[in-house]
Amino acid sequence: MKKTLAIVLTMGLALSFVGCGSKEESATAETTVAETPAEVVTEEAEAAATVEETAAEASTEETAEAAGDVMSYADFTAAELDSEVVVETYVQAKQSWWEDKATFYTQNEEGAYFIYEMPCSQEDYDKLVPGTKIKVSGVKSEWSGEVEIVDATFEIEDGNFVATAKDVTDLLGKDELVDSQNQLVSFKDMTVEKVAYKNEQPGDDIYVTLSKDGNNYEFCLEYYLNGSDEELYNLVGGLEAGQTVDVEGFLYWYEGANPHITKVTVK
């Protein structure tokens, strides 16, 4: 009797351990649940990226059929808003990579193109260092005055070009300034009027008001462009009214010229 009981008990225990062995599955299930949020985001990001990508792919295909050839900067400037465009350009700076999309400041020998939220893997993003030549197919768009290429796709090509800053100080306040939109430009002997953190504390954009000949102009240190450059961020954040500076940056547009600062020299 005792033996029988012992055997039954042992069997029962053994089976219960086997059952507990399925804990592995439980634990896995829990891990999966815990990881779900990240997956959800990734999926949503992928979805968003794919929506854009699909549109871009469609537009690229049609572009190839309709336009086919790569446009000159003059052709791009003349192209209607919301029309499909194809350009060859060179990466000058990367503003951000977020959810498989990235924003680029690009320029060639003729002019500059701001490529907004282009679907791009992290791997490709790492390859797109300044100077890299890319062929971009997308749609010409305008957002608050900033002309950009959206819903774009790209391919990396052979070639290299890094722009040097063009001095546009004399164009400040003039209509012609917009012709240099998105280019790497410089402004000499500007006077610091005001410096303000976006949220009144470091960690986000810095708004800088500079003046020339009594007129104020708005500049911005875009956090996603070069907030990680601690030296530049601290330098700009620490600028004081009355200082004279030379400034370099990309001639971004937001309801008017709003250069995104990349370099500051205090005189």
Binding site: L9, M11, L13, G19, V41, A47, T54, D82, S83, W143
Partner: protein, 530 residues
């Protein structure tokens, strides 16, 4: 001795096996400590959002400063965002690394996703009821509102499944900010209740041009009569007003229907005429409105300080500002007898941590954000409404409302009108069902309007075939074809228990029964011996 040893061995194994099974579920939960230990230093992180409004930052800073004076052992480290989406993404990233903030300003849709993690967000019902530290608790060092003093409708919006996972912080809705001067110049009079037909009609008329190509109504080269900031809300509210499907509490996406098709076709029609665009495509509605390049700008009441010729916050050059009379009205309606508008605005959630004192400190701080000092000050920064009746009825807040239009800063007319709009229409507000994935349904709703608007601008034909394809693409891309996967359904039917589990459970029962028999048998035997 041998029997005792065997019995002991068996018991140890059984306990071991059972506790092993129990260990598979790593639920930590949160037990409210008996007392808050004020001798212990606690550091908590608070992720907040402002509307690119520095006054709001100042109010958060003051709230933290005042709170830390009351509780010197608690240090609150704030991280500010200007975008709820970024908070959401950062929280998600930090869930996987176990580094979530302690307190976070967020939306219930987002919390529903956070909840798919294990014990991430603290359910607050027990904390609400805590005599010492709950809402209006006896041991709190500030005048906290009681549960009944939180606007019930706003509190209900924080229920996910059957528990409160947040407390409301501020509430807003959407408003239509109107260039009344231009509406009247075009020969129209604003109706008592704004309708979609009226907006489309005026917008169409506004597209008339002079011989030189400028628009007759503003004499400029640019005019987009109707701009919508949040196309998600545009679709959601339209469907609600039409009584059409959007989503249900079971987590089903119902928005791919014929009413949506009609809405999209209308959007396409007026986009083609140049009468409609969106924030994502063209820019901030406020900038166009203030430049005299937009007649109907729909945006949150929390964006009221940016709207109108005398707006305290302006993003365009002074020389571009145009003088006009601004009217603030509820969003357009399909059924004027039964107006419906969305209730939105930030809520506050508390994240779970292994240290219950840290969680309690977080809860106390979250609750501090409901005090009159914070509620009134923050609501006055924009067209927000305090979430407590205690703050709404306070003399200070009533005085603020009465001073509407007496200056163009604190008492800016448009801002106070926007706040009153929500207070007058609280019973007409609604929220959408919250479940894991509800944020995707929302994104899909807006994406369809954006895609249709873009397509028309790119000279594509938006017809039934286009919309069919759009439905299919959006459903697949946002995984909305996998219906009923949300946690909102709460009681998922997991199907019958698998056979191995049934066998296992039976064996466990038999084992325990046999142990019982054995022990009883031994006892009887021992008794008989004696």
């Amino acid at each position: 001795m041998k029997k005792v040893f065997i019995s002991f061995f068996c018991m140890i194994f059984i306990i071991g096996s059972l506790s092993g099974c129990h260990g598979a579920k790593q639920s930590k939960g949160f037990d409210i400590p008996e007392n808050f230990d004020e001798s212990k230093k606690v550091e908590i992180s608070f992720w907040a959002k402002n509307d690119t409004n520095v006054v709001q930052t100042a109010i958060y800073n003051k709230a933290i400063e005042d709170f830390q004076k009351l509780y010197p052992n608690i240090t609150v480290n704030m991280r500010l965002y200007t975008d709820y989406g970024k908070i959401y993404n950062d929280v998600i990233t930090n869930i996987s690394t176990g580094t979530t903030p302690n307190v976070c300003i967020t939306y219930p849709d987002h919390i529903a996703t956070y909840l798919t993690g294990n014990d991430t967000v603290v359910p607050l019902d027990d904390l609400f009821a805590s005599e010492k530290y709950g809402l209006g608790g006896s041991e709190l060092k500030f005048d906290s509102p009681s549960v009944s003093e939180v606007v019930p409708q706003f509190l209900d919006e924080c229920v996910i499944g059957d528990k409160h996972y947040a407390i409301p912080y501020m509430r807003s809705t959407e408003a239509c900010y109107i260039n009344k001067t231009y509406v009247e110049k075009l020969g129209f009079t604003l109706p008592e209740t704004l309708t979609w037909d009226f907006i489309w009609q005026v917008s169409e008329k506004a597209m008339e041009k002079n011989a030189d190509g400028t628009f007759k109504v503003n004499g400029q080269n640019v005019l987009i009569p109707f701009i919508y900031k949040s196309t998600d809300n545009m679709m959601i509210q339209s469907l609600k007003q039409l009584g059409a499907g959007y989503s249900d509490s079971e987590g089903n996406a119902l928005l791919f229907n014929d009413d949506t098709r009609k809405i999209l076709k209308t959007v396409a029609q007026y986009t083609k005429e140049g009468a409609f665009s969106t924030f994502k495509i063209s820019g901030y509605p406020a900038n166009f409105l203030n430049a005299g390049q937009c007649i109907f700008a729909i945006d949150s009441t929390a964006g009221a300080t940016w709207m109108g010729s005398d707006a305290p916050l302006v993003d365009i050059a002074e020389e571009k500002l145009v003088k006009f009379e601004t009217e603030v009205m509820p969003i357009p309606q399909y059924d004027t007898e039964h107006p419906k508008m969305i209730s939105q605005g930030p809520s506050i959630c508390v994240f779970n941590k292994s240290d219950s004192q840290e969680v309690l400190a977080s809860w106390i701080f979250a609750q501090y954000l409901l005090t009159n000092e914070v509620q009134i000050a923050y609501s006055e920064t924009e067209g927000y409404v305090p979430v407590t009746t205690k703050a709404q009825r306070a003399e200070e807040y009533q005085d603020y409302l009465e001073k509407e239009g007496t200056d163009t800063d604190t008492h800016y007319e448009v801002k106070i009108k926007a706040a009153k709009l929500l207070m007058d229409n609280t019973e007409n507000t609604f929220i959408t069902p919250v479940f894991n994935g509800s944020a995707s349904v929302r994104d899909a709703a807006g994406q369809m309007i954006e895609n249709v608007t873009k397509a028309v601008r790119r000279k594509k034909t938006v017809d039934d075939a286009f919309i069919d394809a759009l439905y299919k693409d959006v459903q697949a891309l946002y995984h909305l074809d996998q219906q009923g996967t949300g946690i909102g359904q709460g009681k998922n039917d997991l199907g019958p228990l698998p056979l191995p589990s049934v066998i296992l459970l039976c064996m466990l029962v038999i084992t325990w029964v046999l142990i019982g028999i054995y022990v009883a048998f031994e006892k009887i035997k021992e008794k008989n011996k004696n």
